[in-house]
Assembly symmetry: C2
Amino acid sequence: MSDTNKTPTTDLREGEVSNGSSVSPDVVVQFIGTIRTPFSTRDQCPRQGRLDGPECRLELLPHWQAALDGIEAYDHLDVLYWLHQSRRDLVLQSPKGKGKTVGTFALRSPVRPNPIGLSRVRLVRQEGPVLVVRGLDCLDGTPLVDIKPSRCEFTPKAPPKDADRM
Amino acid sequence: MSDTNKTPTTDLREGEVSNGSSVSPDVVVQFIGTIRTPFSTRDQCPRQGRLDGPECRLELLPHWQAALDGIEAYDHLDVLYWLHQSRRDLVLQSPKGKGKTVGTFALRSPVRPNPIGLSRVRLVRQEGPVLVVRGLDCLDGTPLVDIKPSRCEFTPKAPPKDADRM
């Protein structure tokens, strides 16, 4: 595994706090593919993806390609990815340009206990094992973790269960 | 680790397809707490959480509590959790009540290569290391993976970067 938890208690900005704990390996994530974006350095990444941003590519591994069946019915997808360059120990962070510290869960910073990025993207088209989308903000080469129809337009394929009518 | 990949090629409904591959351990997830819901069996879980659904509790582990600092400024949060009872090998699924098979990434089914659930919830209140929220659909005891301010109302704490103005 190529997992990282770099410099757990060093390289802190003023006010930042690490909990000093090492990563507890509770479960494993398997990458399902790779994301291709025009952003090759962190400075090039926008702070939030835009639905009218540049085209990016979700390249699925061959053994997951069939799992895309039916996805073209959706205009918007939730994409999860692994922010593989992020440290994982900070509880308080000092975002650039602010003197203030903020809790990690009150930020969408890539630095978090599980560095999973989440973007709602627009599906432009499918090209075999590749989805072309707009709305991502991550580095070129970011590992892909999951793709789901975006909830706001998702209608379950099964009838409601009794619990839904409670 | 208590990770699961149960019965990779057995117990398939008609039309369902497993890719037969075992889980590749690329990176590890560390649980940050536990979710408490009124749903103790799968049949009790609604198919989608509702923002006017019952109150649920996100119970943070003590060493992550400080990372909640500032979260009460947000009304809506994105919550990620680990659907720990799900198999991970299906590429095509046959949802109950439909004769049709659909690709895993065209469903929000808990069965997926990385069984990470995602719900947008309403923050009701904070009680120390616990967030009380509405909008979840998962089993009581589900492991908690991440909490983020919901993007639709999230304003970055730092000024826009040059890349945002491109």
